[in-house]
């Protein structure tokens, strides 16, 4: 037994070093993941800004596209969603809430991003979503990418952005 005691000690040392190496590898992987995530998050932020800037150039409501002001505000505003003759193609959109329900892939030189958009009316007093027409509308953007997932899972990590637009702040 005494002949193999030093072998056993070295094997013990090997196990300890293996644990150390494994831990270092895990940290390095986590570092690399963070770098990649950082790169993608910067692009995701740019896409959300892009959509918000784009939506601000559209009229607040279908009823105000031509510059006409409805007699009864906010009851004169249209329902949320696309109107007649508007397709899923964004170039056909002429007002803010046409973006509601739009989903698609935004391709950049970095990667393809899945984007989905919702537009809702916001209650002026409570600041939360309402079915009633008001002078506030909120655009809610969700962006995911196939390479950005929650740590150690296969679930895609969604990024949420929102912007509230007021009819009176045109």
């Amino acid at each position: 037994m005494s002949d193999f005691s030093n072998v056993l000690q070295v094997i013990g040392a090997m196990v300890l070093v293996s644990l150390l190496v494994q831990s270092a590898n895990r940290k390095m992987n986590a570092n690399s993941m963070l770098l990649v995530e950082n790169e993608f998050e910067s692009e995701i932020a740019a896409i959300s800004q892009e959509i918000i800037e784009e939506s601000r150039l559209l009229a607040f409501d279908e009823a105000t596209v031509t510059g006409f002001v409805p007699v009864d505000i906010p009851a004169g505003f249209s329902d949320i969603g696309r109107d007649i003759a508007e397709t899923a193609d964004k170039v056909t959109f002429d007002d803010f809430d046409d973006l509601d329900g739009w989903s698609g892939i935004v391709s950049t030189a970095l990667s393809d991003f899945n984007v989905s958009i919702e537009v809702v009316y916001i209650d002026k007093t409570t600041g939360i979503q309402t079915n009633a027409k008001t002078t506030l509308k909120e655009i809610q953007i969700t962006i995911t990418n196939d390479l950005v997932r929650f740590q150690n899972t296969t679930t895609l990590k969604p990024y949420y952005f929102s912007y509230i637009r007021s009819y009176y702040a045109e």
Partner: protein, 202 residues
């Protein structure tokens, strides 16, 4: 010779090799992290300047400038704006150009000088930019960009301007699997919708 001693030497040799490889790995990883952070901060610097200028295309403090874009191709954009928001209403001519002049200070042959000119004041940006491209769109959300250089007619139609920026590290990072090494890359794509180009919408 003692078999136990020989086995111990072999295992110790493996241990030393493991530690050596781990050391190389940690060192490469930290190099990558430092270079990446450096690239990211260079990217944010350029981003900040571009994001300051482009949304102000055609801006004046009390009106919109009619012909905001003077010249536009994929490498160069010239436009008018009261970029410093001066109350006398003086309009500056701003130009962004990705030149073909290489940067001598780095070993990366791909990086070129990016210039920003406000009237005659030239700023040279030498932060590892290897790609800086403009694309012009005549409708919101359009996937087809206008032909460049922009014709006189098209300059009056632009409503969105896309910018693609790519920055590479000054030096290559080598790994065990990539002996030649490769430059670390960071990218940024953004499509701007300047408010003062809204009138160009059909």
């Amino acid at each position: 010779m003692n078999i136990g001693l020989i086995t111990s030497f072999i295992i110790s040799g493996i241990l030393i090799l493991m530690l050596g490889f781990m050391n190389i790995g940690v060192s490469q990883n930290s190099t990558e992290v430092v270079l990446s952070q450096f690239r990211q901060s260079q990217k944010y610097d350029v981003q900040e300047l571009v994001t300051f200028d482009l949304p102000k295309i055609g801006y004046d403090f009390n009106l919109s400038i009619d012909t905001a874009i003077v010249y536009g191709d994929d490498k160069k954009l010239v436009f008018y704006s009261n970029v410093d928001n001066s109350s006398d209403g003086s309009i500056e001519t701003i130009s962004w150009e990705f030149t073909s002049t290489g940067i001598n200070e780095t070993v990366n042959p791909n990086d070129k000088v990016l210039t920003r000119t406000v009237d005659s004041e030239l700023t040279e940006i030498k932060t590892g930019v290897t790609l800086f491209e403009f694309a012009y769109y005549d409708s919101l959300g359009s996937t087809t960009s206008l032909a460049t250089p922009l014709s006189n007619d098209d300059r009056a139609k632009v409503v969105q301007i896309g910018v693609t920026l790519k920055i590479e590290s000054d030096e290559k990072v080598k790994t065990r699997t990539d002996k030649e090494g490769s430059y670390l890359i960071t990218m940024w794509n953004k499509r701007f919708s300047p408010r003062n180009l809204k009138n160009n919408l059909n």
